[in-house]
């Protein structure tokens, strides 16, 4: 089973993502802040990471940059989640190497489809 790491400080969002992805036959691991997220990403080496931008301490950009510039992890696809307010986020997200960019409020089906695109 493919491993997906979900990093978001919004527990509710993590819950719902986890549910639909597990229904879609992925095994999910969750982190609720940037520090844990980065640590887990390095230990677990997941097949895909879903990453929220706005998190205290280490935000999504930093994590994405740290992973994408490391040869060991640079091939892990990263899906960035952010609110539509920060349109400039998209630009930075692309610069930091995120593969996809999903805006809140998002459709769960959409997320599953995007994940499928990378892992099936």
């Amino acid at each position: 089973m493919k491993k997906i790491l979900i990093v978001d400080d919004e527990q509710d969002i993590v819950e719902s993502l986890k549910f639909v992805l597990e229904v879609a036959n992925y095994s999910c691991y969750c982190a609720y802040n940037g520090e844990d997220g980065l640590k887990m990403a390095k230990e677990l080496i997941p097949d895909l990471i879903i990453l929220d931008v706005m998190m205290p301490k280490i935000n999504g950009y930093k994590i994405s940059r740290l992973l994408k510039f490391d040869n060991k992890y640079k091939d892990i696809p990263i899906l960035m989640i952010t609110a539509r307010t920060q349109e400039e986020d998209k630009k930075i997200g692309e610069e930091t190497g995120a593969n996809e960019y999903i805006t809140k409020p998002f459709e769960l089906d959409e997320v599953v489809k995007t994940v499928d695109k990378y892992l099936k």
């Binding site: 719902s16 609110a83 809140k104 409020p105 769960l108």
Partner: protein, 563 residues
């Protein structure tokens, strides 16, 4: 008494002249030594000098040159005879007398020369006064034009002192200014160095002067002595003033206009001030008050503007933060609903299905409201980004038609598009889709079942557009050929008095009819702002119970003009 000096070592001529002048109340004296003569000219200058050319020892040409270089106003008369060279006579002297002349003739010659001398002196004094006045006038003019050229209070006061220096040549000005920041400043412009004790005394004197202006009322600016900052500008620091400074002639004036008090100024001079000096002083002080008042108002205006800008920014920040905070929980609600209604957790019966779709519908509408709010705050803050490109309006219409056909079908409304070939426009097609989607979905909202909605396009020159006169200002913004899109419905219509309000923010909130159909009332204000960004216009017309027509126009791209 006019003074007459005879230069001679001849006893006989001394006696002769002494007899003539003593009788006629002249101060007559005789000198023969060159040193004494020169001393007398500087210390006790005679009005007339008679040089006895018969005295052998003295070369009259040399002595006259010396006298003239010491004092050129003295009348030189030569005591000589006809043998004198006419050229020398004209060159060196004003007149000559001879032995042959009678006493009366000598006296009248001297008198005439004295009169001429006095008149010349008067003329020269008047000339000097005139030059002074001219200089002063120039200084005043210069000052007033400088004062008119700035709104900086500090500079205004600097120019005032500069003007006083030029026209009154003071020894010291003490300017108490309330125009520099929080605390008052005492600016001392001095010719010579001031000791600390002297400055302390000047400081106390200035504060007393200031307080004496408001003996019976409250002082406009309250400050303690320690808060008074001293600025010292010394012209010649090698020399010092002492306490005799306070015996100098001085003038004092407040710098104020109405209720505004900007400071006060005292000016000292090691000489007497004349009446004109006082006028000049008052004029300069008066001249600076008006621009100071102007500068104060200007400053207030800038501050108010800053405050307003800050508020505006706060408002848009607030909206953006609030919407962001609203969006996050909304996402979770939506996710939960999607999971539940998807039947992945439990079976869903018909009733549950009904309520799920109710909840979902409302989540959708709430998220639309948040998006509208965000859009509006972004546009108002000038943060909305536009992607202007060559754009075919027909593509926009086709997209909106297909995306809303489902909604129209649901109400059995016939969505009719009249398409035609139109020139390209320079536009952000996504924003135009937003505008048209809003107009068409409004039309669907307000049109009863089984009716029609028409979307038409036209190419019209701005001056040929016929719109409801309520919108004549809106039409005026347009120029040249425009693509005009019309959305016509057969709905409930809008009363004439409400037509303009339709484009006001939150206008629908007051309208009970539209409450039933929902909506934020932000769609049309957003559309208007978006069209403003396209140099376009939006307006409407309506017949109540018959239907409404909404129009928007965008200028056609000019051929050859780059984007």
């Amino acid at each position: 008494m006019d003074k007459i000096l005879l230069i001679s070592d001849n006893q006989e001529s001394s006696g002769k002249f002494s007899k003539i002048f003593a009788k006629n109340t002249f101060d007559f004296f005789v000198l023969k030594d060159e040193l004494m003569i020169m001393d007398s000219i500087t210390v006790y200058p005679p009005d007339v000098i008679i040089i006895d050319t018969f005295s052998i020892d003295i070369d009259f040409k040399t002595i006259i040159k010396k006298i003239k270089s010491a004092n050129e106003n003295i009348v030189i008369t030569l005591f000589t005879n006809e043998s004198i060279n006419t050229h020398d006579l004209v060159k060196y002297s004003n007149a000559f007398i001879t032995e042959e002349m009678s006493d009366k003739l000598i006296l009248s010659t001297i008198n005439m020369n004295l009169k001429t001398k006095n008149s010349l002196e008067k003329l020269s004094n008047t000339n000097k006064d005139l030059a002074d006045s001219l200089y002063r006038l120039n200084a005043l003019y210069d000052t007033s034009s400088k004062l008119a050229g700035t709104l900086d209070k500090k500079k205004l006061l600097d120019y005032m002192v500069e003007g006083m220096d030029k026209s009154l040549s003071f020894s010291l000005t003490c300017l108490l200014s309330f125009c520099e920041g929080e605390n008052p400043v005492l600016i001392l412009n001095s010719l010579y160095e001031l000791s600390d004790e002297l400055i302390e005394a000047i400081k106390l004197r200035t504060i007393l002067n200031y307080k004496s202006l408001f003996e019976n009322s409250k002082v406009p600016h309250n400050f303690s002595e320690e808060d008074l900052k001293i600025v010292k500008i010394i012209k010649y620091p090698a020399t010092r003033f002492n306490f005799s400074l306070f015996q100098f002639d001085n003038m004092f004036a407040p710098i104020s206009l109405g209720d505004d008090f900007f400071g006060c100024v005292e000016i000292f001079k090691d000489d007497t001030f004349q009446a004109e000096d006082a006028t000049c002083f008052q004029t300069i002080v008066r001249q600076v008050t008006l621009p100071l008042k102007g500068a104060t108002l200007y400053q207030e205006l800038i501050e108010t503007n800053k405050e307003l800008e800050k508020l505006e920014r706060l408002k848009s920040d607030f909206i953006s933060i609030v919407s962001h905070e609203l969006r996050t929980p909304l996402t979770s609600i939506k996710n939960a609903l999607d999971i539940l209604s998807g039947g992945k957790c439990c079976d869903i019966n018909a009733t549950a299905e009904k309520f799920f779709s109710m909840a979902k519908r409302n989540v959708k509408s709430l998220s639309r409201i948040i998006n509208d709010l965000l859009d509006l705050s972004k546009i108002e803050a000038g943060k909305m980004e536009f992607n202007f490109k060559e754009c075919n309006i027909q593509t926009v219409i086709d997209y909106v038609k297909s995306s809303l056909s489902e909604l129209a079908k649901g109400k059995c409304i016939n969505l009719q598009v009249e398409s035609r070939d139109l020139p390209l426009i320079n536009a952000d097609s996504q924003r135009l889709e937003q505008v048209l989607t809003n107009l068409v979905s409004n039309a669907i909202k307000f049109t009863p079942e089984n009716k029609n909605i028409y979307i038409r396009t036209d190419l019209i020159n701005a001056k040929d557009i016929k719109a409801n006169p309520l919108f004549k200002d809106e039409i005026k913004k347009l120029n040249g050929d425009c693509v005009v899109v019309t959305v016509e419905d057969e709905g409930i219509g809008i009363a004439q008095k409400d037509l303009k309000k339709a484009f006001d923010k939150f206008a629908q909130i007051e309208n009970s009819l539209s409450r039933k159909v929902g909506g934020t009332g932000l769609g049309l204000p957003i559309a208007k702002q978006l069209l403003d960004a396209h140099q376009g216009a939006i307006w409407c017309d309506s017949v109540p119970e018959k239907g409404s027509k909404f129009y928007f126009a965008i200028p056609v791209m000019k051929v050859g003009v780059p984007l």
